[in-house]
């Protein structure tokens, strides 16, 4: 197995057929996850981050959704475009998944215990009794007090944070090698967010499980991830380690996100800078760089041609989809200044 990455996604493209036309939600996304790695995919609403992972899981509604190209290999074998029966060999077993809103993500008419046990019964052929014993252990592992009692309760008897813990317990039932967390803390309040992230990190470091964390919150990224993909308008615009993304941001969009993020150090004269404009219309994505219209450094070529991912030979894993990073491109004064402002904010 050592040869293969745990998950390797290449050139993934997803479209949605709507009344208004075809939305190109994901436009050629490549990334990979190693065993035990925490990868964050960050971006604003509608950038395609959730569609990316839901396509890999085969749970986008099809139609209207359609995977138009690319591949996703789990431990070397293709998992994209499988039928339900084949996909269920890895869903819930090799890859667990949790979602944004735990309140609506569990079946309201089944007990928590039954829902966790269901995964175990289906994938591991356990009896109801065995499954509910393991379910109880899982609730303890995810720090749900009074696990035995909680097992027999329904989702409406849980708080939001507890439900997300139960969701995590459910997704861990078959000890998956990868957990996809699709905005796991967005619907929760801030103190609960921190608890859930700590729990995820703890489980990850103990079980050596890899995590793909989808979020729009840079603070969540900084707290949890090792590597980061920044997504914009259906494409990955920058990828690298957390330090590279935060301290050596190479794409103006990543910088823009950082400037728009409040810091916990109070600063008298630092204002939050929103990124002007809005993301491009994905019904007809621009032929050039998707960010060009909002970018303060846009050059003529940016409007004409979409840049490939450029990387500095010294940091081969850090890449940015920006013409400014092309060999021989002018080093803009502005980008450096932005860097300075942004890093003073840390």
């Amino acid at each position: 197995m050592g040869m293969h990455k745990l998950l390797e996604v290449s050139n993934l493209s997803v479209e949605f057929e709507t009344y208004g036309g075809v939305v190109k939600a994901v436009r050629g996304v490549d990334f990979s996850v190693d065993a035990g790695e925490v990868l964050a995919i960050v971006g604003e609403s509608g950038c395609g981050k959730s569609v990316t992972v839901q396509s890999i899981m085969g749970i986008i509604p099809m139609p209207p959704g359609k995977i138009t190209g690319g591949s996703a290999k789990l431990k070397g074998s293709e998992i994209l475009g499988l039928d339900a029966q084949a996909a269920n060999q890895f869903r819930g077993k090799e890859i667990g998944m949790i979602f944004q809103d735990p309140m609506t993500s569990l079946n309201p008419t089944m007990t928590i215990g039954a829902q966790i046990a269901e995964t175990l019964k289906v994938h591991r052929g356990l009896s109801t009794k065995q499954a509910s014993e393991i379910a109880s252990e899982l609730l303890i592992r995810t720090r749900i007090p009074e696990a035995q009692k909680r097992l027999h309760q329904y989702p409406f008897e849980f708080s939001g944070g507890m439900l997300q813990r139960a969701m995590i317990a459910q997704s861990l039932a078959c000890s998956p090698s990868l957990l996809i967390a699709d905005e796991p803390t967005t619907a929760l309040d801030v103190t609960i967010q921190a608890q859930i992230l700590d729990l995820l990190k703890e489980l990850q470091s103990r079980d050596g499980m890899a995590i793909i964390l989808i979020t729009h919150d840079l603070a969540v990224v900084a707290r949890t991830a090792q590597n980061v993909c920044v997504m914009y308008a259906g494409q990955i615009v920058e990828q690298g380690s957390v330090d590279e993304i935060f301290y050596k941001s190479a794409h103006p969009y990543t910088l823009g996100l950082k400037l728009a993020m409040p810091s916990n150090v109070s600063q008298q004269n630092k204002k939050l800078e929103p990124i002007p404009g809005s993301p491009p219309d994905l019904f007809s994505p621009p032929s050039g760089c998707g960010y060009a219209a909002r970018c303060p450094h846009a050059m003529r070529i940016c409007h004409k041609e979409n840049p490939p991912l450029f990387s500095d030979p010294r940091e081969p894993h850090h890449a940015a989809r920006c013409w400014l990073q092309a060999p021989g491109a002018p080093k803009t004064e502005g980008l450096h200044q932005l860097h300075l402002i942004a890093s003073h904010g840390e």
Partner: protein, 310 residues
């Protein structure tokens, strides 16, 4: 749960009292009385009869007497059918209507859930289009048309095979019940199909269905375990009133198929202003409706834990 049930029964009793009072007032507001027909030929006979039945007393007193008897479970004696007790009429004929109604509602509920789920599964495909077309027919065509058509069909089938495949009319065996109850349940079945379809389509887009798929459950398991049970809830809600509508509304079907149900007496009594029978059947049907609604509420509690524990 016990407190909940008790509360429901209490409010049900108040409803029944209200039904009784409203019917009593409405009935007496209709011009004429049960003695208007040919029996009371002379004023003397009329007066004697009025005294015998207590019709000479003031309305308020009649009301109190009536309510007193009703509480003891005595609905009095029919005006038009000599010396026949209303209790006996109900006892003799309600079981017939009830059997027909229960079978009809069973057909309707099973059919509605099955067809509704099927149409949702094949949304916008041929099975969906065909079933939804039939559903619109079922909702808009009145039951007496279906009753007559059903009979015609039976006659033809029986002639074709030259045996009595199923009886065309009458009452007595289970075979007699099949076609009338199908006809009676058809409208409700159509209604429930539509309800079930929209409910299923709503559930498909719920987050917990997405979770179920991400868990790696098979499509059939998702369908039965996660979709169906949640989709049935709105269907169960309307089942109570529908049971009552079917059992009370069955008199047309009963008439066409010559079934000795209570419906006929109910309608006849209104035509003849047979006070005691009107009151007896109305209050009885009212109580039946109230009971069914309570029963459905309790069943609902078993299906949806959120109702049970509130």
């Amino acid at each position: 749960m016990l407190k909940y049930t008790f509360g429901r029964i209490l409010s049900g009793l108040v409803t029944i009292w209200f039904i009784a009072t409203a019917t009593f007032l409405a009935m007496h507001a209709v011009p004429g009385d049960p003695l208007m027909n040919e029996k009371a030929t002379t004023p003397e006979i009329r007066e004697n009869l009025a005294r015998k039945y207590g019709l000479d007393k003031p309305i308020a007193e009649q009301y109190v007497i009536y309510l007193g008897n009703m509480v003891q479970g005595d609905f009095g004696i029919s005006f038009t059918q000599q010396n026949r007790k209303v209790n006996d009429i109900i006892q003799d004929h309600f079981p017939v209507s009830a059997a027909l109604g229960i079978l009809a509602i069973t057909f309707a509920a099973l059919g509605g859930i099955l067809w509704g789920a099927l149409t949702a599964l094949y949304r916008n495909q041929l099975p969906d289009i065909i079933i939804m077309f039939l559903v619109i027919l079922g909702i808009s065509v009145p039951s007496f048309v279906f009753a007559a058509l059903g009979q015609l069909l039976l006659v033809n089938i029986n002639q074709w095979f030259n045996i009595s495949f199923l009886p065309v009319a009458g009452w007595g065996t289970f075979a007699h019940m099949i076609v009338p109850s199908l006809v009676l349940g058809l409208g409700t079945m159509a209604l429930l199909t539509r309800l079930m379809r929209s409910s299923m389509l709503e559930i498909v887009n719920e987050d917990f269905i997405r979770t179920a798929r991400a868990k790696g459950l098979s499509p059939s398991r998702i369908f039965f375990q996660h979709q169906l049970r949640n989709a049935i809830l709105p269907v169960v809600t309307v089942l109570g009133p529908q049971i009552a509508a079917i059992t009370t509304g069955g008199f047309v079907v009963e008439l066409v198929f010559a079934i000795p149900g209570l419906g006929r007496y109910f309608v006849q009594a209104v035509q003849q202003l047979d006070y005691t029978v009107i009151m007896g059947t109305t209050v009885f049907y009212g109580a039946f409706l109230v009971f069914m609604v309570i029963l459905v509420d309790i069943i609902y509690g078993f299906i949806d834990p959120r109702v049970r524990l509130k």
